[in-house]
Assembly symmetry: C2
Homo-oligomer: 275 residues x 2
Amino acid sequence: MTSREIFEQIKKKQSFLCVGLDSDVNKIPRFLYDTTDPVFAFNKEIIDATHDLTVAYKPNLAFYESMGVSGWNTLEKTVNYIRYNYPDIFIIADAKRGDIGNTSNLYAKAFFDAMDFDAVTVAPYMGEDSVKPFLTYVGKYVILLALTSNKGASDFQYVKENDERLFEKVINTSKDWGTEENMMYVVGATRAEMLQDIRKIAPKHFLLVPGVGAQGGSLAEVARNGMNEQCGLLVNSSRGIIFAGDGEDFAQKARAAATEVQQEMASLLKEGSLL
Amino acid sequence: MTSREIFEQIKKKQSFLCVGLDSDVNKIPRFLYDTTDPVFAFNKEIIDATHDLTVAYKPNLAFYESMGVSGWNTLEKTVNYIRYNYPDIFIIADAKRGDIGNTSNLYAKAFFDAMDFDAVTVAPYMGEDSVKPFLTYVGKYVILLALTSNKGASDFQYVKENDERLFEKVINTSKDWGTEENMMYVVGATRAEMLQDIRKIAPKHFLLVPGVGAQGGSLAEVARNGMNEQCGLLVNSSRGIIFAGDGEDFAQKARAAATEVQQEMASLLKEGSLL
C-alpha cells in the first residue's frame, strides 16, 4: 500500500484511526466463550462494527502469542478476515521485533509472506541490519519505535549526545535506510509537543501514535503538532474502543466509541484543510 | 534456577556453552523431511548428542515463528523434550521482546507459564515497565540486550551522554530493577575488550555472549575479559555447532564441534582457577 493510498482512505473515511486489536481473552465478553474460537469471534464482530470508521487495525502479537498455538491460529484468521472482507484496510503487526540480519529476515517472511500484514513494528536498538530485511518488501512498512508512550520511555529514549536525543537520532539515522514508502515511526501521544521536533526531521513520514485515550494523550494536540499534507498520522486506540462494552452489545458499544473518535478526527482534518 | 546452580552445572560439565537452536528448516539435512516434524527431529538429535557438553539451549524464536502455527508446536515440543530428559539444562527463549507493561506481562506468561523457559531475551529500548513484568517469576531471568554482536550495534548502542555509553547506561539503570538472580545481559563477543568495562558495572551478573564462531569473536578473549568467580558467562554458538554437518551423521558432527568448544572452555575454566 502506498502512502497516497493510505491518505485516500483517510479522506474517504474522514478518519486516521487505527484500532488496536489487543484482544485479551480474559477481557472479552463471557458469552463468547461458547464459540470455538472466542478471540476470533470477538475480533470479527469488532471489525465488522468499525471497518468504515478506521483505516488500520493493529493486533498486538503478545495477546495472541500468550495463547500459544491456538493464538497463532486466531491471529492468522483475523488477518485473513480483514484482508478478504475489507481489502483497503492497513494491517499492522505490533510485534516490536528486531534481531540480527538473517533472523530479522525470517521475521519479515513471517509477517509479510506467511501472513499478509502491511507493516510491522520494529525496535531500533540493534541498528540497521535488524531493520533492513523488512524494507525489501514493496508496499510493506517498518514502523520503527522512536518515542514510545509508556513511562519507561524516559529511561533511555532521551539520552542526549551533541544535543540530539536518542529518539531523534533513531529517526535521523534510520530515515536514509528506506523512504516514506516503507518506513513509519512510533511516536507516543503522551509527548505531543515532541511531534513538532519530530516533524522537523521527518516531515513526510507517517507516524503511528499510541497513547491517546487510556494512556492520557490528547488527539487534538497530536493533530495540531503532527499533521502533514497527507495527514501523516495513524492514531491508535485499543482498550478505549474494543472494550467499550462487555455485554452482548459490545460491538455496538465499540462502534459508538470509534464513531466519537472518528468525528473528532473529521473536525481535525477539516481544521488542517485536508477535507 | 539459581546462579549457583548454573555454576554447578558449569563445573560438572566443564563447559559454559549455550547451543543456539537456530534450526532453520531450509538448512537442516534433507533426509529429515520425511519425518512428521523435521525441525523437532533435528533438535532432538542435536540435543541428545550435545546435552552433556552444554549448560544451556537457546532457540531463537524467529526460526519457529516464521513457520507459523506448526513452528510454535515444534518450539513447545523442543522445550518439553529438554525439560523432561535433561532437567538441569537452562533454556533461553531468544525472543528479544519488550513492550509496555501490561503487554510484557503477557509475554512473560507465554514464556514462563505456558512454556517452561528459564529465561527470555528482552530489548531495553522501552525502559523499566517493559522489563519488570518478567522479573516477578522466581528462578526465571530476563536477559537484557546491552551490547549486541551485529554490525548495527554501533548505530545506537554507543550513543554517549556524560561519558556513559548507552549500553553502559542500560546496565547501570537496569541493574537495580532486579538482582543477579533474575537478570543477565547480552554482550557480544565481537567486542570482547568491552567486557572489562561491563565487569566494572556488573561484576556478578551472568552474561550471555553471542558472536563467537560464525560472527568472529574469540572465546579466549571473552573468558579472559569477562569471567568472574562463578564463571558468569554463557557463550553461545549456533550455526557452528548445529550445522557442522549436513548428512546422516549431522548429530555426531555437531557433537564433535561442541566437544571442541567444550574442551577449550575446560582449559579456560582451569586458567581462571574455577576447576
